[in-house]
């Protein structure tokens, strides 16, 4: 197997153009993976800056920095940027870099599609944020101001920012579907001989389910926003009761996509966790089969629970009971995953390098997301939690602690493999502790704000909410600033640092660790075999 590793090193870059053209035309999975990850990191800071402006406004009661219209634009675009332009591309970047290495494939199955999939992202991000700039020049009234959920009829009423966002979502959706097709085809067709589906790395399994979910649900979102577009401009009345439509239809369509989207963001991370835990516990992953079936079960359940996002819209009792119980049912496969993660650590020989710290932090904080999610499923209690800051805190535990900290786990885990250099453990650990501390400082107060009755998406609030909001803003700024350490650590690691071995981590197992660090530009030109 190791014979393949040195091959490309002997043939330097003459196969492909240099400079900008290299990146524009590349079909190499590593290059494309790097572009996805870089794009994701940039957009993470863009989305972060937006929400820091929001938190600054919320630091004290009263309107200090911005008008409510602008506030509404920031919260919605923050969510869209973080979900579609930061988290999803990060996961796709991981898949691009790691899947071929992990399953012994020379590249992704559809390399040109891969290139196109990436290069759709920057235009989409520009479309999404352009209305902010246009408004500065007096064109239009700014970006989407409806929250990321586009709820009709508010979105029918909105300005041209809504149209920009609809088109951006279409492009992002096309990109994601192409990425998903590529991943499914690669996993099904390009595994090394001997790697049966039940020997597939769990990261690949997680992504496989994600890819199917994307293909199943993104077209529904595309349909919903297209109906919105025609309601806005072409005289249809899908969501207008006066024309025989129904505003709640939009919510059904949106959340048919929106709920699986949560798992789309999380499944790649859940797939990654057993690799990291097993590496740093020096012990094989516990319950491989159980985890695979849990991924599948969660994938299937995720498309039949959507209406728990709008219990307060009113629906018949049987529907309420059904959506409540089906939502609660997700706790079972999710608990299987938690069980397997902890059982993987149990009786291992653990060390706590940065990736392991992030993995453990992920498990604990994501546990809070799961447990609060369980009680949110309760219809009666949901009447109090819904649309309050309790929900805001809940889904940030899911998507920041679950999603973004999961991505950070992956970055620290694989960065030495990608670059061939070790990052600074000192900075990494500092980044971890600052992130965990400030994340909780930001979001624990939001649970209490929600319970006390503060609705979400308001630019100004009653005086009784002042103290917790001030604490939350303080936490948010520390959280935002500590991410600069992350970027700095990555930058330094890319530029140089102590050389690492092929295996990087003592307990790492899998094909990817048999290639040199960094792997050659073209890897696995001779297929390895798995016994």
């Amino acid at each position: 197997m190791s014979t393949a590793t040195t091959h490309a090193a002997e043939h330097p870059a003459e196969h492909y153009p240099g400079g900008l053209m290299r990146w524009l035309t590349t079909t190499n999975h590593k290059d494309i993976g790097t572009m996805y990850l870089t794009f994701s990191l940039i957009m993470f800071f863009v989305g972060g800056l937006m929400i820091l402006a929001v938190r600054a406004e919320l630091f004290q009661p009263g309107l200090q920095l911005m008008r409510p219209e602008f506030f509404n634009q920031l919260i919605g675009v923050h969510a869209l940027v973080m979900i579609f332009a930061a988290l999803m591309p990060a996961a796709t970047g991981f898949a691009n870099w790691m899947l071929p290495l992990m399953i012994g494939a020379p590249d992704m199955a559809l390399p040109r599609l891969n290139n196109w999939g990436f290069w759709l992202l920057p235009p989409a991000a520009i479309l999404l944020t352009l209305p902010f700039t246009l408004a500065l020049f007096g064109i239009g009234d700014g970006a989407l101001a409806t929250g990321w959920t586009f709820y009709a009829p508010l979105s029918v009423q909105g300005g041209m920012g809504v149209d920009f966002a609809i088109l951006a979502v279409h492009i992002l959706g096309i990109s994601s579907i192409m990425g998903s097709i590529n991943i499914i085809v690669t996993i099904f067709n390009m595994r090394a001989p001997g790697m049966t589906m039940m020997k597939l790395p769990l990261f690949a399994w997680g992504w496989l389910i994600t890819a199917f979910l994307l293909i199943a649900t993104l077209p529904v979102l595309a349909g919903a926003v297209t109906m919105l577009l025609t309601d806005r401009h072409f005289g249809t009345h899908f969501f207008d009761a006066a024309g025989g439509g129904d505003p709640i239809l939009f919510q059904h369509l949106f959340w048919f996509f929106g709920h699986p989207e949560v798992y789309i963001l999380l499944l790649p991370v859940w797939g990654l966790m057993p690799h990291v835990l097993s590496t740093f516990s020096r012990k094989p992953a516990y319950g491989y089969t159980a985890q695979v079936y849990s991924f599948i079960a969660i994938g299937l359940l995720s498309v039949v629970v959507w209406a728990h996002h709008f219990f307060t819209a009113g629906m018949p009792i049987p529907a309420l009971v059904y959506f409540m119980f089906s939502t609660m049912a997700i706790s079972i496969p999710l608990a299987v995953l938690f069980f397997c993660w902890i059982a993987t650590m149990w009786k291992g020989a653990m060390t706590f390098e940065t990736p392991m710290l992030f993995a453990v932090g992920f498990i604990v904080l994501f546990g809070i997301a799961g447990l609060t999610g369980l009680i949110l499923a309760d219809v009666a209690a949901d009447a109090q939690y819904h649309h309050s800051y309790f929900v805001v805190a809940h889904f940030h535990y899911a998507l920041f602690a679950g999603g973004i900290m999961g991505v950070m786990t992956g970055v620290y885990y694989w960065l030495p493999k990608w670059t061939g250099h070790m990052y600074s453990e000192k900075l990494g650990k500092l980044h971890f502790w600052l992130t965990v501390f400030s994340f909780n400082l930001t979001f624990i107060p939001q649970f209490f704000l929600g319970l006390a009755g503060m609705p979400r998406r308001i630019p100004d609030y009653a005086l009784q909410f002042a103290e917790f909001n001030a604490i939350s803003t303080l936490g948010a700024f520390v959280l935002g600033l500590s991410q600069l350490l992350f970027a700095w650590n990555i930058w330094c690691c890319v530029r140089g640092g102590p050389k690492v071995e092929s295996r990087v981590w003592e307990g790492a197992e899998g094909l990817e660790w048999e290639l040199s660090s960094p792997p050659p530009h073209h890897s696995w030109e001779t297929q390895p075999t798995v016994k």
Binding site: G140, L154, R232, D246, I248, K347, H387, F448, L451, Q464
Partner: protein
């Protein structure tokens, strides 16, 4: 919810506060890290419940918080134990197992899931279904109906039996929001005309909206229901204790979403009936005004008050608007155009047409449904003769009445 000690319900509130702390700490232990300054209002749980549903919800919530706290502590205690005992640095040798082996291990591996199933579908599930049935039962023994209509960005309340109808808007002065003056005790949670309900009566609440989706929420009532344009939704409250209860719109509904509070005065029934009679008499007097001829100065004066309450949020107190979403009225082509056609009928897309019937697809709603003849006539006359507009004409309430 109480912030200041001189609040009328202070004694009760502090008791709630104390009990809330206890549950809050159970729920999330890290909260202990937060400084509990005596003067600050740190509330860790739901505000005091005043309806059967809110009481039940608080009870369920506390129970669930306890359950998930126990789950959290047990699961992560096991994990932390492992992290301490199974470290490489203390020389622990890694085991090799990858799954349960033998009947006993399978038994112990499956036990947690049996417990979880029990928690989900029995311990939490059964009370939850009961709560749903109770919450959705709006009709049994309902004593009265209140119709709530959400509008950008105010609430309209209607008592269908007595025909009383009025709009309730934020009364916090703009200067307080702009930080130009000190904020009052009920900043953003105060209205010009609160809705009044009798205590001890089951009130069936019907909800709808004239524009976008709003959500009517009073935390102390434990109910939250969307107001959806073109549809009726319902919920119910039975307020057990007289008092002033405050809430807010909970669904993002446009720029002033944060500025449309709900304020409910719950009073004993005789007081409620007296209030209702007084309101009806007042409405009658106001309606009588529609039949007489008003002078232009009267209309302008009345119109200014209506404008500032209803229109200024979008078109701004100075009539300059917030273009392009909210057009200026100052110098507007729509305003500075003929009032009515030569037969005294409404001209399509004219000033009167816009005010009465709104503009589809925008925040400009049909005010014929929510304003009286006098208010409509007054505000139209005011707009035509203010902000530099000098049309000099006016429209009488009686004309509006005939144009409806």
């Amino acid at each position: 919810m109480a912030r200041t000690p001189h609040h009328s319900l202070a004694g009760r509130q502090s008791r709630v506060y104390a009990c809330a702390c206890r549950t809050g700490r159970l729920a999330l232990a890290p909260a202990l890290l937060l400084p509990t300054v005596a003067s600050a209002a740190y509330s860790f749980n739901f505000p005091e419940p005043v309806t059967p549903i809110a009481r039940e919800t608080l009870h369920i919530h506390n129970e669930f918080m306890l359950i998930i706290t126990i789950l959290f502590v047990v699961v992560f205690a096991i994990m932390i134990y492992s992290m301490i005992k199974h470290r490489k640095s203390i020389g622990h040798q890694p085991a090799k197992f990858v799954g349960p082996t033998g009947a006993l291990q399978w038994f112990w591996a499956l036990i947690p899931f049996a417990i979880l199933l029990f928690i989900d579908f029995v311990l939490m599930g059964i009370p939850a279904v009961q709560a749903i049935i109770n919450m959705e039962d709006t009709k049994t023994k309902a004593d009265m109906v209140l119709k709530v209509t959400g509008m950008q960005w105010k609430w309209q309340y209607e008592y269908p039996v007595s025909g009383l109808k009025f709009i309730s808007t934020l009364s916090t002065p703009r200067d307080q929001i702009a930080n130009a003056e000190a904020k009052g005790e009920h900043y953003l949670l105060e209205v010009d005309k609160p809705v009044v309900l009798p205590v001890g009566k089951k009130v069936r609440i019907l909800l709808t909206s004239t524009d976008v989706i709003h959500t009517w929420w009073v935390p102390q009532f434990g109910v939250k229901r969307d107001a959806i344009p073109g549809f009726l939704r319902e919920t119910w409250v039975l307020i057990e204790k007289p008092g002033i209860y405050r809430g807010q719109c909970a669904e993002l509904c446009g720029k002033d979403h944060g500025f449309m509070p709900v304020v409910v005065h719950a009073v004993p029934e005789p007081e409620y009936l007296a209030w209702l009679e007084a309101q009806k008499a007042e409405a009658k007097t106001a309606a009588g005004g529609a039949d007489r001829t008003w002078s232009k100065d009267e209309l302008v004066a009345e119109g200014k008050a209506v404008y500032e309450k209803v229109c200024a949020a979008c078109h701004q107190p100075d009539g300059k608007g917030l273009p392009p979403a909210f057009p200026a009225l100052a110098g507007s082509k729509v305003v500075n155009a003929p009032l009515l056609d030569m037969n005294g009928k409404v001209i399509k897309d004219s000033h009167v047409d816009r005010v009465l019937h709104g503009k589809a697809g925008t925040a400009m709603q049909a005010f014929s449904a929510s304003l009286s003849d006098v208010e409509l006539a007054a505000v139209i006359t005011y707009e035509r003769n203010s902000f530099g507009n000098q049309m000099g004409d006016m429209i009488q309430p009686a004309q509006i009445k005939s144009l409806r």
